[in-house]
Amino acid sequence: MTDLYALTIGELAPMLRDREISAVELLDAHLQRIEAVDPKVKAYLRLTPDLARAQAADADRRFQAGEAGPLTGIPVAIKDVLCVEGVETTAGSRILAGFKPPYEATAIARLRAAGCVFLGMTNCDEFAMGSSTENSGFYTTHNPWSLDKVPGGSSGGSAAAVAAGEAVFGLGTDTGGSIRQPAALCGVVGMKPTYGRVSRYGLIAFASSLDQIGPFARSVADAALVLSAVAGADPNDSTCFERPLDLSQLEAGVKGMRLGVPKEYFEVAGMEAGVRESVEQALAALQGAGAELVDVTLPHTDYGLAAYYIIAPAEASSNLARFDGVKYGLRAPRTESLLDTYLHTRREGFGAEVRRRIMLGTYALSSGYYDAYYLKAQKVRTLIKRDFDAAFERCDAVVSATSPTVAFEIGAKTGDPLAMYLNDVLTLGGNLAGLPGVSLPCAPAGGLPVGLQVLAPQFREDVALRVARAYEQAGVRAEVASVA
């Protein structure tokens, strides 16, 4: 029999329902797996075994009482930016060390109500700013497929946990690619929903107009299931809407669907040949499954990175102003004045990348520069959205690579922020346009996972997931890394 930690929700749910295994057994299998591999992977910042045991015991009671749902008893890894009531939540930052939110993120509350078992908080780049988890205020997570490589980021901890069998599924957040890119680099399925599909309440904000919560899983069906559990309007988030989410056609295949291939996405700087080949193979497989490939164009792609790195830091500079040493988290000791408290607290509490983005964003919003930077970037954002609108008139979904590269060596790009930023060039367009996007594994290149990205029109997660599911059937499926 396969190890319990290597199974999907789809496989585990009937076993739990039929009482072949208990939720407590399933939890124990994961805690053992974590104990065995996490010293190498370092996916988790904090484990919550007491909470998990209570939840697993409760899940078993629910199975007995016939009150269980499809996610009851399923162990989950939670990115450290999602507030879990009473559990230290730090956004991967020393400035929030010791912060235990007295409230819970809506997405987390929904998983709790569904009976999920919370394994712990996973590592990420500080305040979700980064593409490798190397910007974590605590330590770097290692790619389970190759331990000297990065897992991607910013949600690298959740991606690595799911890839290494340290959780059945995970939650992450995606502001410019922070779910899809680590999913690609770790060889798992990752989904960023439409902006407004999942409540952001309780998500420690990086860039409010771009952030979205989404799942990591080892199958497309699992990702779809988790999405439907966390999606939907929330009275606490005015930017979240109730829109239909019909996932009944997940298995309907791609026959007769038109898939757009944007040429600009195959010509970006730094695109590795192996990635390109693997994605082209995937496109051929989709064609073989009955899809029609059409050429589309996204002419403003080149400007996306610049616009993103103005808008996101601008919002971040404001969102992170609350970390001032006055109310919670770190406070620099023995300062002479209020200004000194601010300066020392923020200098000691924030890492270099966070400070860099705060400075970039502050500058972009400054009087006299606002029109040239922030306003111009918003106009570019509109143009990028129009590019996608035009493309979706010719196709049902847009397919491309998720990341131009496979997982890179730890330390390879830390000295060159711009090279790091370029890793998001294929994903951030989806955030700027507010689109849903899935990344799922296609054929590895040089032994490392490669991600195929499927982008769909707003609130058409069903289309993106259906295409992803069709490829999963025709091509590659996610596996658990052995971690050696």
Partner: protein, 472 residues
């Protein structure tokens, strides 16, 4: 350089008012925070904890729009909230959610002392918390405490054009604005409770000049009287500076009530950069024109209309009408007295002279006031007696029938004759003065008669009898 007294003051107002809603601007916390223990009227949202999000209070939007409509403003059908970024410990998010370039309304006016004062804009924002300094003042405080009970209170900002020309106009503007806010039910607008905070931008220029002088912004103003005094002081201070050949510095100045002067708080030479940008946590708002029309239709009679009606229908003077219509509850009280059968003029005078100067002028039931005034009008009691009964009314709340029992005015000439005789005999100097042509000497003599009768003599009769005797 003009001579002293040839300066013209140019004043614009920025007024912040708490709106009378059940909950705060962006969260579910209550709004009756006054007197509560520090940081007890708070939640994760108004504490600005990470991950929390604002949700717009519909009632606050409604009250802001009603106020703007009552101030004759144009409503902007498309509006949005913005973030105003700055660091201060009483601002838990490091930014205030406010409105920048698309406020809810613009271009209105408010009639003050017979002239229209332009309203630049009326917009909605959230209030900050409060710092409590241990010690008398910030400079010497050993430590400071943050109280966030007020954080997130719905706050409406009204900005006027620089159309005001004197301290009295500035005060009357604020009072008229309070009248509007109370009339539409937007807020209590009690300055002493911090529900209405007025800041005045003051500059002066040579009379006749069209150019604007350098302005100062006056803060720390906690009453209408303080507003008047602060503006009055500041106009004189600026004139003194300019006449001495110095310059007025653009700055924020606080009003010190005990010292009765303004003092420099913060130089504005380096303008603060608030890095405004659209609040991404809130969608832009689009108002349905029908809804705005409904709100406009629901406005009650406003102070200006009531004032006109008090003049035309009740025959009051402009002055009386202005004093009574500024607060519609006061005007309603007068109309109730009239409905109870009292003539408007004396009722208005009684309210203005005897009741409005008190702390809570309207706690006495109109029926009781009417009973008292009927007795006064009929001559059954005199004014001093009526005033004494009113004091008792405020103090004890007992009915007038009981309080005035036994009080009777002596209106019988025969009953006063003996008193008149003895008063004249006991005050030869006053009598001599009067006879020498000093008619004012009659006053003290009337006073002596009142004194001798324990206040119960009809003073008019006493005066007539004295005059008759003295001129004999």
């Amino acid at each position: 350089m003009p001579e002293a007294g040839e300066w013209e003051a140019v004043i614009g107002m920025e007024v912040h008012a708490h709106l009378k809603t059940a909950s705060k601007m962006f969260c579910g916390c209550g709004t009756d925070y006054l007197g509560k223990p520090p940081n007890s009227n708070v939640c994760p949202v108004c504490l600005g904890l990470p991950g929390t999000l604002p949700v717009i209070n519909r009632r606050a939007v409604e009250l802001c729009l009603k106020s703007a409509l009552a101030l004759n403003c144009e409503i902007q059908l498309a509006t949005k909230f913005d973030r105003k970024n700055y660091y201060y410990p009483d601002l838990p998010k490091g930014y205030q959610i406010s409105q920048y370039d698309l406020p809810m309304s613009r271009a209105g006016w408010l009639e003050v002392d017979g002239k229209r004062v332009g309203i630049t804009r009326v917009h909605l924002e959230e209030d900050t918390g409060r710092l409590v300094h241990a010690g008398d003042r910030l400079e010497s405080a050993d430590r400071s405490y943050v109280d966030l009970n007020r954080s997130g209170m719905p706050l409406m900002e009204v900005v006027s054009e620089p159309d005001l020309r004197s301290a009295a106009e500035a005060r009357d503007f604020a009072m008229a604005l309070r009248g509007i806010l109370r009339a539409v039910g937007a807020g209590e607008a009690d300055m002493e409770k911090g529900q209405l905070r007025a800041e005045a931008n003051v500059s002066i220029r040579p009379r006749g000049s069209e150019e604007l002088g350098v302005k100062t912004e006056l803060k720390n103003i906690n009453s209408f009287r303080a507003l008047f005094n602060a503006v009055e002081y500041e106009i004189k201070r600026q004139a003194r500076e300019l006449e001495a050949g110095r310059k007025v510095v653009q700055e924020t100045r606080g009003w010190s009530e005990p010292e009765r002067r303004t003092f420099s708080q913060r130089s504005k030479e380096v303008a603060q950069d608030y890095r405004y940008f659209p609040e991404p946590d809130l969608p832009p708002l689009a108002f349905a024109p029908d809804w705005i029309a409904d709100l406009k239709g629901s406005l009650p009679e406003l102070p200006a209309a009531r004032r006109e009606r008090l003049v035309s229908e009740r025959g009051l003077s402009e002055y009386q009408a202005r004093l009574l219509a500024g607060d519609l509850e006061v005007a309603d009280y007068l109309e109730e007295l009239v409905r109870l059968g009292l003539p408007a003029q004396p009722a208005a005078n009684w309210m203005i002279g005897e009741m409005l100067p008190r702390d809570e002028p309207l706690v006495v039931a109109a029926a009781e006031t009417a009973e008292l005034l009927r007795r006064l009008e009929a001559g059954a009691i005199n004014r001093d007696q009526a005033r004494a009964v009113l004091d008792q009314l405020y103090e004890t709340g007992k009915p007038v029938v009981e309080l005035a029992a036994g009080l009777e005015q002596i209106s019988d000439a025969g009953a006063l004759a003996g008193v008149i005789d003895s008063v004249l005999a006991a005050n030869p100097t006053a009598v001599a003065d009067f006879k020498a042509g000093k008619e004012a000497a009659i006053g003290p003599l009337v006073g002596k008669v009142m004194q001798a009768t324990g206040g119960s003599a009809n003073p008019k009769l006493a005066r007539d009898l004295l005059l008759a005797r003295l001129k004999r």
